[in-house]
């Protein structure tokens, strides 16, 4: 039997889950569309959902001292919003649609429910997200220590280029999530 492309996408994003678990995950996700310019996550505002990008393109930005800074563009087959899903805190960056986009949204409440109804799936999803977060923290720490090593906090001039790069590594990462 052919496996649905969205099921395959879920299995790529969460390694180790079975087709029926990918389907269970999809069953709890709602399909949303966003027109160009529409905001998916707003920096500083409460965020409690993860979005899988199915079609289109998203843009990740933060407010900088000199205006909006673009950190990354998010292609299909990646996700955004995992920190908000995990802890329900405010979004660290603004994510908006750069093109007509189709997303699949998993709410925090659904993750809470999955922990009981599909614990193996929930554990696999949370482990995948944890590994991704740990990699981003480690890479950002290493990068920043290299950049700042041998300087003093007060003597360091503002060089937004590498700071933006560090923020991008932290919020977007090398693994492809924001």
């Amino acid at each position: 039997m052919a496996i649905d492309p969205k099921t395959q996408l879920c299995r790529r994003l969460v390694p180790g889950i079975k087709p029926d678990e990918a389907q269970a995950l999809l069953d709890r996700m709602s399909r949303v569309t966003r027109h160009p310019g529409a905001v998916v996550l707003c920096e500083g505002e409460h965020s409690d959902a993860l979005y899988f990008v199915s079609e289109g393109l998203l843009r990740v930005t933060v407010d900088g001292p000199d205006g909006e800074l673009t950190l990354a563009e998010v292609q299909p087959e990646h996700w955004v919003g995992e920190v908000g899903l995990i802890d329900g805190g405010p979004a660290s960056a603004t994510v908006s649609a750069a093109e007509e986009s189709v997303l699949y949204r998993l709410a925090s409440d659904d993750l809470i429910e999955l922990r009981v109804s599909q614990p193996r799936l929930a554990t696999a999803l949370l482990r995948t997200l944890s590994v991704d977060l740990a990699a981003r923290i480690r890479h950002s720490n290493d990068f920043l220590v290299t950049q700042l090593g041998g300087t003093t906090a007060t003597a360091r001039p503002v060089q937004s280029g590498w700071l933006t790069s560090a923020l991008s590594r932290l919020l977007w990462g090398t693994g492809g999530s924001a």
Binding site: S92, S130, G150, T154, L167
Partner: protein, 170 residues
Amino acid sequence: MNSFDILRHLPAFSEFEDDELALIDRLLSVREVKDGHVFLREGKGSGGVRAEMFVILDGTVGVTRDVGGMPVRLHEMGRGELFGTMALLDQATRSAGCVAVGPTVVGAVSRTLLDEMFASRTPAAAKFQHLVARELARKLRKLTDSLKAAQTGEFEPLHRELGLPEQLAG
């Protein structure tokens, strides 16, 4: 108070049912240590199958980073906080040192037991993995906030977060 009762009173474990807490409690190797005890050394390997992560049951643990051969205290953690999680996930070297600040009681969980629990397909395993993810999300948020402050020219929080205090740098 035994470790099970301590866990029941920790806010981080408030969403665990009693039977789930009992499962977590069975994983813990409870250790009472003196001031200055080193749990983890920065730069050391995760320890392979003997690697451990820790839950603070009582007391305080300081997080340190080596700067020019001197351990610099970055911040302190208290009851209910987890440490040692990152190296268990990615098996890389320890990113910071962790040392007891005063008499401290921790519950150590080995990689082997943790993997067994995660393979158990129980809600307790999923909730514990969520706890680990929250701990990492908290670290990421702190670093993000420090970076944003640095963009406005305020570098002290970032230096503090990374263990590069003003008086030892430069």
